[in-house]
């Protein structure tokens, strides 16, 4: 029998006291040990305050003098995003079908899942570096990178949607003797289409963001312009680019939000 108490206290986060203290001490030990052994040059960090002042001093006011360069960079990012979304979505449809457990045999399913896992494992910037080395600097490497990036996301989400479809319609068409393609077009596509359109719009938005980043390693678009501005210590131009990137992202987020709301 537990002793009755006069006051109520909050039950602890983990009921077992041994486990609780092991977890707490483990966390403290990890942060303490790693925090002390991390390769940090504190002198440079201390100098950072002064340098931050210089950078921000140099960045204000933002300079829109070279707006031609800025607009060109953005148009290129937009083109990269459009082409990569188109290519990625087209490629991700067959891959999503391969990765849906309810319509394909097991070996095909594993292949489809493997493609998706590999496409998702690498950050787009790493993929971009490899493509820049393979096909040279410029927007083409960016398009290839973002196609892979789009496949990783769109194929995964679409495969999940295909696994959730109502199989009654497929069976109805099969019972009527419909060939495979007709089943696909009349029983499966109508069910996954709304999700597909939503994903495409989301991915266009997402690719536009990512295209700003892959440019930093030479894969074209506004990121290349930004990295150059940083490299030349043109902080006022870099700030102008960053402001425009943020504005464009907010705008595209708002637009894609409106479109998705209208579809549903």
């Amino acid at each position: 029998m537990s002793t009755p108490r006069d006051t109520w206290s909050k039950p602890p986060f983990i009921a077992n006291p041994v486990l609780r203290w092991t977890v707490y001490l483990g966390v403290i030990a990890y942060f303490g040990w790693v925090g002390l052994t991390m390769p940090i040059d504190w002198n440079r960090v201390a100098a950072g305050i002064e340098r931050a002042g210089r950078i921000f001093g140099g960045a204000f006011p933002p300079s829109f003098e070279r707006s031609g360069l800025l607009i060109d960079g953005f148009l290129e990012s937009l083109k990269i995003a459009i082409l990569a979304t188109a290519g990625g979505v087209v490629l991700s449809i067959p891959i999503a079908f391969m990765a849906a457990r309810n319509i394909v045999p097991l070996p095909v399913f594993y292949l489809g899942r493997a493609i998706i896992i590999v496409a998702r494992s690498f950050h787009p910037v790493i993929v971009a570096i490899v493509f820049v080395k393979a096909v040279g600097f410029g927007p083409f490497a960016g398009v290839l990178t973002l196609i892979i990036y789009s496949i990783g996301f769109v194929a995964k989400m679409l495969a999940e949607r295909i696994e959730e479809i109502d199989f009654g319609q497929v069976e109805a068409l099969r019972a009527a003797g419909a060939p495979y393609l007709s089943t696909l077009f009349y029983a499966i596509f109508p069910q996954i289409m709304p999700r597909q359109i939503g994903l495409t719009i989301y991915q266009l938005d997402s690719n536009l963001r990512a295209s700003a980043v892959v440019g930093i390693v030479g894969a074209g678009g506004i990121g290349a312009t930004l990295a150059n501005a940083f490299g030349r210590y043109d902080y006022d131009f870099a700030l102008a680019i960053t402001i425009v990137i943020v504005a464009v992202i907010l705008l595209s987020e708002a637009v894609s939000g409106i479109i998705r709301k209208r579809i549903q």
Binding site: M38, D41, L78, I129, G138, I216
Partner: protein, 269 residues
């Protein structure tokens, strides 16, 4: 019985009305035009495009077999990468608590703090980690500090936004009950708000840690510490077999991260 003609105004069944069809075709043509515009005006050397499969094949050919001689160094830097992600997530979680509190409509003290909170969230999320990293490498110099701060700046917006939404959705009654007993603001937060958002809090923190693990693999490319630095080094020296080893190490790390976060989610939630 009504005939098909009476119901639909025509003899055969069609899925869409003419107006719907027109809209659908209009959207399709619009998409096609956007693609044509992008294809025709993009600055691409088409000879490189046709040679791409061969070039990529050649690159992978050079990567095989992976060269594990530097595996010890790779694992050491991989450990740094994990630490960057973990520290940054931990700091971001702490920082995002007050931000989420003032960015949620039902807990924020006044309109000014609400907009301040939202401004912080939007700024943080709109700038990509790599761009934050560029800035902090310029400030702190190359190294893990720049990486941790960059990931932290990016994560605050993400965690704060999701946590703020969770706070907005809480059940008001426990809060009102405590307020009715005369509990202090602090006690209301600890006993009425925190227990309700705790599950979301852990889910978001684990999810963000998983994302940060991926993000921290590329920080080194702009000089902000982690595995990216030796990846960049291996690429610059055309040491493709070592690049292959590093890429494999990254895949293993990311998959392990997913396994760990899936395990934690199951245990905690």
């Amino acid at each position: 019985m009504t005939s098909i003609r009476e119901q639909f105004g025509r003899d055969d069944w069609t899925r869409f009305t003419p107006k719907q069809k027109l809209t659908r075709w209009g959207i399709l043509v619009g998409c096609a035009l956007a693609i044509v515009w992008a294809l025709s005006s993009i600055r691409v050397v088409w000879a490189w495009v046709w040679g791409a499969p061969e070039q990529i094949g050649d690159l992978f050919g050079r990567m095989y077999p992976p060269d594990p001689t530097n595996l010890a160094t790779i694992l050491k830097v991989l450990w740094d990468t994990v630490n960057i992600a973990t520290f940054a997530t931990a700091f971001a979680v702490l920082l995002s608590l007050p931000v989420a509190y003032i960015a949620a409509q039902n807990t924020t003290p006044n309109r000014a703090t609400l907009w301040l909170g939202r401004l912080i969230l939007v700024t943080s999320r709109s700038v990509n980690t790599i761009i934050w990293a560029l800035l902090f490498v310029a400030i702190f110099g190359p190294g893990v500090v720049a990486g941790i701060v960059a990931i932290m700046f990016r994560s605050v917006g993400f965690i704060g936004k999701l946590l703020g939404e969770a706070i907005e959705e809480i059940d008001k009654r426990p809060v009102e009950a405590l307020e009715a007993t005369g509990a202090s603001r602090f006690k209301v937060i600890v006993y009425a708000i925190i227990p309700q958002v705790m599950p979301t809090f852990w889910a978001v923190a684990i999810l963000r840690w998983d994302i940060n693990l991926r993000e921290s693999t590329v920080l080194g490319l702009v000089g902000a510490g982690g595995i990216g630095i030796i990846l960049q080094g291996a690429i610059d020296t055309f040491n493709w077999p070592e690049v292959a080893t590093i890429l494999l190490a990254i895949i293993v790390l990311v998959i392990l991260g997913e396994v760990v976060s899936a395990f934690l989610r199951r245990r905690i939630l």
